[in-house]
């Protein structure tokens, strides 16, 4: 073991003290300070923590920090290294059950503690999954493959393409359904791009994650996994979906269309919502209940179409009043090829931006308009501002969500630089990213405090 590993995470005076007493991490020790003695195991320290303290796990299981400067002596009596390992059990195989492939990209659907940072890092293996959620074996035969182990903010074009390719490969190999474990922060971005890259899927492609990491007893990970695996194995919905909690209670999950879903709360379990439409279905331990009929059905062929293209030089600009043209100019000067604007109201920006928009038009940059209200359509013909902007080459994208439009523009520009073709791709709905009509129940944000809403909340579990 290198010296770094022996004293993992320690630096400064704490490292000097441990070295001085020759007490590496995992040592079972008695530490004497000027005021007392403490018995326990020296733990690794988070690298982001200060250099002044030694972390000791006491016999009772609690950790405490002892100031290095107070330590007078350390007596070592043994060593106990932690082996944080979910009991691995081989996933049972039943020829009568459908085969589901679980592709891991990261996230906290299965995770463990990282002493280096003190944070949770993803862990992923079929045996571990079976060890922690044995119920999965009642549903299907599960195979897993770890594609990546990244937090979702670190997903990018390379991972999107790789994931799409892996999905297509597994479908061709005959999987009855695909589940993709993913961090939740950018799950809706990935859901959108997979909806474009993987078309004509004969089987369900279900994205899943957790809002409370699986190292917590009340984690949503296990139930989300069960729901997603059930959907992949049994449902007849052959689309890219996000499967996450409907309410915050452990009741049922919702299957959201990959192009209409968005993370709407930084921490709630029920953070994913379908925007401007209703979800495809509800899923519980014992049921899958479609909420609509216009979804693509499962087929028995393997004729999936893979189109894994992506142009990285695309940006998304969230407009704000007082925005100055230099924001757009910097994108233009840095050779961006496409810009998605999230405009105000029906899709507007202020006049000072016009010259920059004109420059973008002259430099053949694809500029598309979405709405930062999230709900509703871009309707640039209503006001003069919108009409002026359309003259400057800004293309409205109907009710495509800003993040979805961003992913689609990257995908379109990845295929062609002919702006007319890009426009055709952008405005032709492929997977529900643009809908012709918004149903009246597609916009529902209940307002707490209103008597009828409170009455509803009191009757149903949140």
């Amino acid at each position: 073991m290198s010296s770094n590993d022996l004293y993992k995470g320690y630096r400064g005076e704490a490292l000097d003290t441990l070295k001085n007493f020759d007490a590496p991490i995992w040592s079972d020790v008695e530490i004497t300070t000027e005021t007392g003695t403490f018995k326990g195991i020296i733990l690794p320290r988070s690298e982001t923590a200060d250099p002044h303290h030694v972390v000791l796990k006491l016999r009772v299981g609690y950790n405490i920090g002892i100031a290095a400067k107070r330590i007078r002596s350390i007596t070592i009596s043994g060593r106990k290294e932690a082996h944080y390992k979910i009991p691995e059990k081989e996933f049972p195989y039943d020829p009568k059950k459908p085969n589901v492939k679980l592709l891991g990209t990261g996230g906290t659907i299965a995770s463990r503690l990282d002493y280096r940072t003190g944070a949770v890092i993803p862990a992923f293996s079929p045996g571990e999954l079976y060890g922690s959620v044995p119920e999965l074996a009642d549903i299907c035969n599960l195979e897993t493959e770890k594609l990546y182990g990244v937090f979702s903010e670190n997903m990018g074009p390379e991972q999107w393409k790789g994931t799409a390719e892996a999905i297509a490969r597994e479908i061709k190999k005959g999987a009855h359904g695909i589940v993709i474990g993913h961090g939740t922060d950018t799950m809706h971005h990935t859901a959108a791009i997979l909806s474009f890259m993987v078309q004509n899927s004969p089987v369900p492609i279900v994205m899943v994650g957790s809002q409370r990491s699986s190292d917590r007893p009340s984690s949503d990970a296990a139930l989300n996994l069960m729901h997603s695996v059930k959907t992949a194995a049994e449902s007849d919905i052959a689309e890219v979906m996000v499967c996450m909690f409907g309410p915050t209670s452990d009741e049922y999950g919702l299957l959201h269309r990959g192009t209409r879903v968005r993370k709407m709360h930084s921490s709630y379990r029920s953070t994913f919502r379908t925007i401007g439409d209703i979800p495809i279905a509800m899923v519980g331990r014992e049921f899958i209940k479609p909420l609509r009929q216009d979804y693509k059905r499962r087929r028995s062929d393997t004729d999936v179409i893979l189109n894994a293209a992506f142009e990285e030089m695309v940006a998304i600009v969230y407009y704000y009043p007082n925005m100055r043209p230099d924001i757009l100019d910097s994108l233009i000067d840095n050779n961006y090829k496409g810009i998605i604007i999230a405009g105000t109201g029906l899709g507007h920006v202020n006049k000072p931006l016009y010259p920059a928009l004109k420059r973008a038009q002259e430099k053949n940059i694809a500029v598309y308009m979405t709405v930062q209200t999230l709900w509703g359509y871009v309707q640039m013909y209503v006001y003069d501002t919108g009409r002026d902007m359309m003259d400057l080459g800004v293309v409205p994208t109907a009710n495509m969500l800003p993040e979805v439009a961003y992913m689609k523009l990257g995908w379109a520009l990845g295929q062609t630089s002919d702006l007319e073709k890009v426009k055709e791709i952008m405005l032709t709905p492929i997977a529900g990213e643009i809908t012709e009509r918004e149903p009246s129940n597609g916009y529902l944000i209940f307002q707490g405090g209103v008597p009828e809403v409170e009455e509803f909340i009191s009757k149903y579990r949140k």
Partner: protein, 637 residues
């Protein structure tokens, strides 16, 4: 072997407890007096049964930091409970619902906790590490309690020795349970997240009474800071008990200290009697290795039963399992606690783990009574090929629950061959206790990755130390030496006026007895008179100054205090006009005249009676000594 036989509670002596090796320690939970909760900014201390919404959760065990599962966690997982939380939007936010990560720890609460740690003479930790302590019973929606050790190794001076304070932690309080029936448990969340400290003592108490005495000491000590909550549920203690050869067993949530002696007595008896039961099993050659038991469904044999609980169960489609415990004859009637038998240990497990909460949930052949008919027992006995040496136990429920129930019966019976299982037990009203869950161990601890470690600086310790009644432990002795009346010593020790008391006797040279009476007895008397005295240090000081300057006679202090409380503050305008010698003499003469024609049986009391009349008439305007002098002169001379 275990020859000693437990006597009734009141007949047990200190040496009896020594004979069984009684030892006990405390875990005292004390809520802190803060305006907000520990890890969110919800108001603290507001309780209501009203709720606006409900959420449903399930709990799954997770690994500890050292990569192991905890026994309790696995037990709770077996129960497969639906946990319902009732949410009141005024007292609970998305943090308590576990839909928002924690906010930084409440500094006010941490200050109070550190202060109490210092008062116990503990070593404070230099860096606070918040841990997650798993609770899979659902009492906390996250499935764990956020808790951190902030001090270690203190002591409580007790009867000339020290009771050790092993550790102290600051933690969030749990939910209040509303009900637990079948597979559904309901909690109210208002108490959830309230800051509290847990003080863990060493197993240093040697009789049930000592346990209660030490609990009292700790309670008063915490109160002396003036920064802890009082009232129902604000302080709760868990009591650990063991006897020689026994196991540490924890009795949870004892709400009142006077309950402790009987509870700990019964637990010691239970452990002792379980050890005797083990002796008996071994005498019968039943050990963990030779233990034999089996389960069979006997649903069909009981189709025509007239025993109502079974009849109803079968009518609703439940099944009945029969467990045969080989060689156990009569042992389910083995006494464990007062009026409590080994069958209760088994029934409790079935209730908690198999969720068969409707009682009775088992029947056994050691107490046939008026349940299943003799003919039915006989046919069951034959069907399961039992002999007269065996005990049969029936358990009924849904297929899943009845199977789980039978398994638990076997597990608990087998444990009797080994000894006393490590358990957490609940205090019952009659002074006995019942099974709550398997005693959790260190494996249920996990660092809280949501919050970074928190440094506790020297400056912080010094700042807190400066505000503490550090002399608390010596106060009793000191007051006694100063001549403070015995009945005021305890109250003065924990009074917020303890510091003022020192000022009065040192700075203003007030006699300790008078100072204690003024600061402790008078406010109590005002309270009894229906006045809720909000007396500031300043008000007291002003009144005492008035006394020192001769404006207020000693016997007028109470009346002045009462006036000042009514008035809201003290001022010289509250002083009554001083009593002139002439007025005093006239009042005495009037009192003496009033006694004319009144028969007084004890003539020697005459002077006292006059004294009373005069003092009452001149309330607070003249001193008793002066009155007495005049009476002596005018009445009797």
């Amino acid at each position: 072997m275990h020859d000693f036989l437990f006597k009734p509670f009141h007949d047990m002596t200190e040496s009896d407890y020594a004979a069984v090796g009684f030892t006990s320690g405390l875990e005292i939970h004390q809520q802190l007096l803060t305006s907000k909760k520990l890890f969110c900014r919800c108001p603290a201390g507001r309780y209501s049964d009203r709720y606006d919404a409900e959420i449903l959760r399930h709990m799954r065990p997770t690994l500890s930091e050292l990569g192991e599962y905890d026994g309790t966690a696995l037990m709770e997982f077996k129960t497969k409970k639906n946990i319902i939380y009732r949410i009141n939007r005024d007292t609970v936010c998305t943090y308590e619902m576990d839909d928002t990560p924690p906010f930084e720890i409440n500094e006010e609460a941490l200050d109070i906790a550190l202060g109490i740690g210092i008062m116990y003479g503990c070593d404070l930790v230099d860096e606070l590490h918040i841990a997650r302590k798993q609770y899979l019973d659902g009492s906390i929606p996250t499935g764990f309690q956020r808790t951190a050790i902030f001090s270690l190794d203190g002591k409580i001076p007790f009867k000339g020795r020290d009771v050790r304070v092993v550790q102290m932690s600051i933690e969030e309080d749990s939910c209040r349970e509303v009900s637990d029936i079948g597979h559904q448990r309901v909690y109210l969340t208002d108490r959830l997240g309230m800051p509290l400290i847990e003080t863990v003592t060493g197993p240093d108490m040697k009789t049930p009474y000592e346990v209660a005495e030490v609990a009292e000491l700790c309670r008063w000590m915490a109160r002396s800071t003036g920064k802890v909550r009082t009232g129902i549920g604000a302080a709760r203690q868990d009591v650990n008990v063991s006897v020689t050869g026994g196991t540490r067993v924890e009795i949870k949530g004892v709400p009142r200290i006077p309950h402790i002696p009987l509870l700990t007595y019964n637990e010691a008896m239970r452990q002792w009697n379980l050890l005797r039961l083990r002796d008996e099993l071994h005498r019968r050659d039943i050990t963990a290795d030779s233990f034999q038991a089996s389960t069979e469904s006997v649903t069909k044999l009981l189709r025509k039963t007239r025993y109502l609980p079974l009849e109803n169960a079968l009518a609703s489609g439940m099944i009945v399992n029969c467990v045969v415990l080989r060689g156990f004859r009569d042992l389910l009637r083995w006494q464990t606690q007062t009026d409590t038998y080994f069958s209760k240990e088994i029934s409790d497990r079935v209730r908690v783990i198999a969720c068969l909460t409707t009682l009775p949930n088992i029947l056994h052949s050691d107490s046939p009574s008026e349940s299943v008919s003799t003919a039915e027992w006989q046919s069951i006995k034959k069907a399961v090929s039992a002999t007269d040496d065996d005990t049969l136990v029936l358990v009924w429920g849904s297929e899943q629950d009845a199977v789980m129930g039978a398994k638990e019966i076997i597990i608990r019976a087998k444990e009797a061959t080994i000894g006393i299982p490590s358990e957490t037990r609940q205090a019952l009203r009659d002074g006995t206790n019942g099974f709550e869950r398997i005693l959790p161990g260190a494996d249920r601890m996990y660092p809280d990755t949501d919050l970074p470690p928190k440094r506790i600086t020297d400056e912080r310790r010094d700042r807190i130390r400066a505000t503490l009644p550090l002399d608390y432990w010596n106060r009793g002795d000191r007051y006694r030496k100063l001549g403070v009346p015995e009945d005021l010593i305890q109250s003065l020790s924990v009074s917020r006026f303890a510091a003022l008391f020192e000022t009065l006797i040192a700075g203003l040279q007030i006699m300790p007895k008078l100072a204690a009476t003024l600061l402790i007895q008078y406010p109590k008397r005002l309270k009894r008179e229906g006045l809720d005295p909000l007396i500031s240090d300043e008000m007291m000081m002003n009144i005492v100054r008035g006394y020192k300057e001769g404006k207020i006679p000693k016997d007028g202090l109470y009346f002045l205090l009462k006036k000042a409380v009514r008035n809201g503050s003290y001022g010289d305008h509250l002083l009554p006009p001083p009593c002139s010698t002439t007025e005093l003499q006239q009042t005495i003469q009037k009192a003496v005249a009033g006694l004319d024609g009144v028969t007084i049986h004890h003539h020697d009391k005459r002077r006292e009676i006059v004294m009373g009349i005069v003092m009452n008439a001149l309330r607070g305007r003249v001193d008793a000594t002066t009155v007495r002098e005049h009476i002596d002169r005018e009445v009797l001379v």
